[in-house]
């Protein structure tokens, strides 16, 4: 009996229990229960990882058929869980980072009146995410895909009494639904063309697909990934999603759910490779998003929104890597990103926790390193990792993604990726220096968070530091070798300079970016506040994300709302209700006049009766 089913089953049981009986638990018991179940899932994942490692490399694939799900004619789908290297890497990331964030949330959400409900949703999310990564067919993957979308909605809108949170939840759900619909159409296409949804059979048949079919399917799947992973043009929901509690931002909108799109592309890479152009589209969307989000992040004053844009840009890098067929590097970046981005978000949560009124404005921070040393240390380490400073984890993963473009013989993409990396270094430097260094601008008496939160921060910070050992080399790192069964061997260098030169260049670019941020914000030789005032217009453009949101608002939302209002208040209220009520009203008027004939006077009725009889008699007499 394989234990795979336990991994998603544990959080599902937790969610069910907490939803039904969570309110009876006292204190933080609900939180500890949820966290320990996810932690147990992590342990089970480790056991399965051990079993996989004990097998020869080309035997590392098990499919556990739990039960038949759908069986209609020739359409058969089972609830099949797959454990292969890619699935187990994702499961380890989800449960590992997820358990840490659960522990953090126990302290963070302690005073919330709906404490147990929060952890029920979190566990439900982990369950769906695990179904997503462990599924062995597209329909089950889609179940998880929609499920995490639902949990994202529930958790963004967790504080639904705040209109901003309720609206952000709706926006996230609707925007991702656009991509999800395309994804579903893609799944239907797969079934029509291949006759099966099982990964093994679909990917086995992928090479035989005609180019056009493969392109259509790949792009439909990618549309789903765009929505879920907040890539241009469906990215507008992610910054708003920061209305949710900070642990949610860390778990769902940074470490796991938003990376589902990257997982999908890597998992379905045989379909993308069967098309001549799909991977190029993936790379272009990724790099455009990375640069766009990087620029936007520089203009953010809200610490969480800055992190949201940085997540978008890092996801862009992952797609970029996948588009360059560097699937191993993309997954590597996904894993390390989960470490350092979760740490950054939880650090932001600690800052909010320490400042009065959950302050998120970078302008009202500054110099927080002194009162909050642990938060500042873990944040700085994670930010440096993200910026790509060696020897932290982000350096290895980011560098491999960037280098993959040059190694694949596409120097144009490589330069664009370097620009994106430079922006990453700049905005991470800016955020770090504005929040933790320089002159204090905060109110109140900030302090480091309580022990459980500190421990989680330190654990994630440590992972962000040492995560690089998973992939010291692009072609032969631990992770890449482990994933080889799924993603194939890493291709030989096609063109361009050697790996060492490329690495050197990306390090220089990262250091330049951080240096620029340091020069502007902490060197003291520069009045950055005057600069802000002087370039207020440009700063506004960046902080509004180039007004894409407003364009959507004007071009799509406003007309849709106007159309709905027309249908609701003119067509429905006036036309449909009006005609129905009008007919009723006309009959009422008629009856009002007609009922006066009912005088209740028997003699009058008799008179009418007699008059009628006489009338008929006269009529008969005249006719004959």
């Amino acid at each position: 009996m394989r234990l795979t089913f336990l991994i998603p089953f544990l959080p599902l049981a937790g969610a069910a229990f907490l939803l039904l009986a969570g309110r009876r638990l006292r204190g933080s018991a609900a939180g500890w229960l949820a966290a320990s179940l996810v932690g147990l899932g992590f342990v089970v994942s480790l056991v399965i990882l051990g079993r996989l490692l004990g097998q020869p490399a080309n035997h590392r694939l098990y499919v556990a058929h739990l039960f038949d799900w759908v069986q209609v004619g020739s359409f058969r789908v089972g609830v099949d869980l797959r454990d292969d290297p890619l699935a187990i890497v994702m499961a380890l990331t989800v449960t590992g980072v997820g358990a840490l964030i659960h522990v953090y949330a126990i302290a963070y959400m302690r005073d919330d009146p709906r404490f147990s409900r929060f952890f029920a949703y979190m566990n439900l999310f982990v369950f769906f995410m695990l179904m997503l990564v462990l599924a062995n067919n597209f329909l089950l993957l889609y179940l998880g895909w929609e499920g995490v979308g639902l949990c994202s909605y529930l958790l963004i809108g967790f504080w639904f009494d705040r209109p901003a949170a309720a609206n952000a939840a709706k926006k996230a759900f609707i925007t991702t639904r656009i991509g999800d619909s395309a994804f579903l159409i893609g799944i239907v296409f797969i079934w029509l063309r291949v006759g099966s949804l099982d990964f093994g059979r679909v990917f086995g048949a992928a090479h035989g697909l005609p180019n056009g079919t493969a392109t259509v399917i790949a792009l439909l799947l990618f549309a789903g990934a765009i929505g879920k992973s907040a890539q241009i043009p469906l990215h507008v929901w992610l910054p708003d999603a920061m209305e949710g509690p900070t642990p949610v931002s860390a778990l769902i909108h940074a470490a796991t759910m938003v990376t589902a799109g990257v997982y999908l592309v890597v998992r379905a890479h045989p379909i993308f490779e069967a098309s001549s152009s799909a991977l190029t589209v993936v790379a272009v969307v990724g790099i455009v998003t990375a640069i766009y989000a990087g620029l936007s992040a520089i203009g953010q004053d809200d610490i969480k929104r800055m992190l949201a844009y940085s997540t978008m840009s890092q996801l862009g890098f992952m797609f970029f890597g996948a588009g360059m067929r560097a699937y191993g590097a993309a997954i590597f970046l996904l894993v390390t990103h989960a470490f350092f981005k979760a740490c950054l978000f939880l650090g932001a949560g600690s800052v909010m926790h320490g400042l009065p009124d959950d302050e998120t404005d970078l302008m009202k921070m500054g110099g927080l390193a002194r009162p909050m040393p642990v938060t500042a240390l873990t944040w700085a380490v994670s930010a440096a990792a993200m910026a790509g400073i060696p020897p932290l984890s982000g350096f290895f993963s980011k560098d491999q993604v960037i280098s993959s473009a040059s190694l694949a013989g596409r120097p144009g993409f490589w330069v664009a990726a370097l620009a994106g990396a430079f922006l990453t270094a700049v905005y991470m430097g800016r955020g770090t220096f504005l929040a933790f260094f320089g002159r204090p601008r905060y109110d109140g008496h900030p302090h480091d968070p309580p022990a459980p939160m500190r421990i989680v921060l330190l654990a994630l910070g440590a992972l962000a530091v040492i995560g690089g050992i998973l992939g010291l080399s692009a072609s032969n790192g631990l992770l890449v070798r482990f994933l080889r069964r799924v993603i194939g061997a890493v291709g030989e260098r096609v063109a361009g300079p050697s790996e060492a030169v490329l690495t050197l260049i990306s390090v220089v670019v990262a250091l330049l970016g951080v240096g620029l941020a340091a020069f502007v914000y902490v060197s003291g030789r520069f009045d950055w506040q005057a600069l802000r005032a002087r370039f207020a217009r440009a700063r506004q453009t960046l902080s509004h994300g180039f007004y894409v949101n407003d364009v959507y608002g004007g071009a799509i939302v406003a007309p849709a709302k106007a159309g709905s209002a027309f249908l609701a208040y003119v067509v429905d209220d006036r036309l449909i209700d009006g005609s129905v009520n009008g007919i009723g009203g006309a009959f009422r008027q008629l009856a009002r006049a007609g009922r006066l004939a009912q005088s209740g006077l028997v003699r009058r009725y008799a008179l009418a009766f007699a008059a009628g009889a006489v009338g008929i008699l006269i009529f008969v007499a005249v006719r004959s």
Partner: protein, 101 residues
């Protein structure tokens, strides 16, 4: 010599007219009731007359039916009048006008 048939019909018509006018102008329910009986008897007379004229019994048979039905009607009608009187202490039909708009 037979009495001309028009005499009977004339009598029948006069009786019917008296009955109709009685129904229309009187307010007392009992009088109205009696007027209705008058109308019925006028019709019965006409039926018997036609029976005799045609030389068969159809009209006379119909008359018996009519008389039986009239008896039944009297029973129901008088019961209504009695209960009306008990309820409203009046058998004036103009007072009994609850069933109006």
């Amino acid at each position: 010599m037979r009495t001309p048939i028009s005499f009977f019909l004339l009598l029948s018509g006069m009786l019917f007219t008296v009955g109709t006018v009685g129904v229309l102008i009187r307010k007392n329910a009992l009088i109205i009731f009696m007027s209705i009986e008058l109308q019925l008897n006028a019709v019965n007379l006409a039926l018997v007359t036609f029976s005799r004229q045609n030389g068969n019994l159809t009209g006379q048979v119909l008359t018996f039916f009519s008389m039986v039905v009239a008896a039944a009607e009297v029973v129901v009608g008088l019961a209504i009048i009695v209960s009306l009187y008990r309820k409203r202490r009046s058998i004036d039909v103009d007072d009994a006008r609850m069933l109006r708009w």
